[in-house]
Amino acid sequence: MAKAIKVAAPAERRLSVGTWVRRIVFYIAVVLFWQGIVSLHIWPEYALPGPLEVLNALILGLQSGLFVLASLVSLQRMLIGYAISMVIGVLLGILIGRVRVAEETLGTLVMGLQALPSVCWLPLAVLWFGLSEQAIIFVVVMGALFSITLGVVNGIKNTPPIYLNAARTLGARGIALATQVILPAAMPAILNGFKQGWGFAWRSLMAGELLFASLSLGNQLQAGRDLNDAAKVLAVMLVIIAIGVIIDSLLFATLERRLRERWGLQR
C-alpha cells in the first residue's frame, strides 16, 4: 500500500523573484523620495535628517554597543512581563472559558480592561511601584494579559464539542481533559492571543520606557530628542521595527505555520 497521501505543502506561498524585485525597487524609491524632501531644505536638518545620517547614527549606535545593550534591557523586560502574562492569562482564560459564573463576572471585566491601552496603567504603576523596574514590567503584563486571556477563552469556547465527547467516551476527565484535549484544541486561537498580546505589550513597553532614565530602547528615543538628534531617534526607531519584525516573522509566524501544517488548515 502507498504511503500517506502527502497533501501539497500548505500555506507557504513561494515568493517569486519578481516580488522581491518590486519590493526592493519600492524601498529604494522610498529612500530616494526621503532624500529628495531633505534636499528641499523645508525643515532644518536637525529635525529631518537624510537617510545617510540615519544610517551613520545606526552604525554608531550599534558599534558603541549602546543600541545592543538597550535592546537587551527592553527585551528582558518584555520576556519577564510576557512570561507572567502567559501564566496568569492561560489560567484566567481556562477559568473564564470553563466556569459559567467566572464568564459572567470576570469575563466582562477582562473585556472592559482589554479596551484600555495598557500604557494608561503607567501613572498608577509609578504611584504604586515608583519609577522602578516593577512599574514598567507591570505595564508590560497589563499589555499582554487580556489578549492572551481572551485568546484562551475564544479557543475554549470555539472548541468543537465533538472533541470533548470523543475524549470523554475514551475515558478522559478532569485535568487530563483540560491539558490533553481542551488546550490543544484551542491552540490556534491561543496562539493568536499570544501574538496579539506580544504586539500590545511591545507597544506599551516602548511608550513606558520614554519616561525612564535608565538605558533602554524607549529611553534612547527620549535621549535623541533631548540632544536634538533626530538621526538617532530615527535609528532607534529602525531598531525597534527590526526587533518587532524579527519576532513576528521568526517566532510567531513559524509557530503558526507549523500548527497549520499539522492541522491541515489552509490559509
Partner: protein
Amino acid sequence: MFQRQLVKEKHDIESKHEPAGGISLQVEGVSKLYHGRAGAVQALLPVDLDVKPGEFVCLLGPSGCGKSTLLSIIAGLELPSSGQVRANGKLIQGPGTDRVLLFQDAALFPWLDVLRNVEFGLRQAGVPPKERTEQARHFLELVHLHGFEKSYVHQLSGGMRQRVAIARALALNPAILLMDEPFGALDALTRDRLQAELEEIWSSTRKTILFVTHNVREAVALGDRVLVFAPRPGRIVREFRITLPRPRSLENYQLMEQASEILAVLKEAMGEVKHGESD
C-alpha cells in the same frame, strides 16, 4: 484464534470487565426532552430495549428520530429525561470505557498523529508508554493502517479516518461499541469494505454493537436485529430480526427483499409525519 490473542494482550489493562466479548445492555424507559428556545422538544419517547451480549443491533431511521440521542445517552455523554440504562446489569452513570462511542466524522484529534490518537484512551487508562505504543500499533495493523502511524488526520481519507477511530476504540477493549453512523459520510465502495471489516472484527471478538444508520441495506447486512425509528417525536416503530446467514452479500436477493420490507415500514413512518404536519 484472534479473540484469544486479543484477550491475552488486553486483559492486563481492563481487568474489571470480562476480558473480551460483549456484555448485555438494558434500556429501561429512556426518554429525552430538550428545552430549547422554541419550547420543549420530545427528542425521544420512552424506549425499552434489551440487548444480549454479543448482539449486533442496528438503529435505523431518518435524521431527527432520536437514534443518535439514545446512543449518546447509552454512552453516558447525555442524561436521559427519564429512565435508566444498565450495562451488564450495572446502572450506568456517565461515560465508561466499557462502552465506547464512535462518530460519523471520526472525531480524531488533529493535534495528534495517528499513533497518538490510537494511544489516547490507553494513556487515560494509565498504560505505560511503551506498552500503549505496542498495542496501538497492533490495532492499527488490524484495521490495515500499518505505515500510517506518523500521519496527521488531514492527510488521511475519510475511510482511513474511520479506521483509525475504530482502532482507537478497540484499543480500549470495550465490551460495547456504540457506532453513530460511522460510515455515513463515506463513498459506497469504502463503505462496503469497512462494513465487511467491521463484521469480521465483530465475529472474532463478539462485542455487543449498537449501530446507528439511515441506510436500510447497511442495517440488514450487519444487524442481528434492526430497530426502525420514526421522527417527531423520536420513537421505535418496528423491530426486525435478521436471520440471514453471514457473511451477507449486499446482492443477495433475500437481503434485498428484507431491505425493501423494512424500507416500506420506514416510508410509512415518514408518511405519518408528513400527514401530521399538514394538519
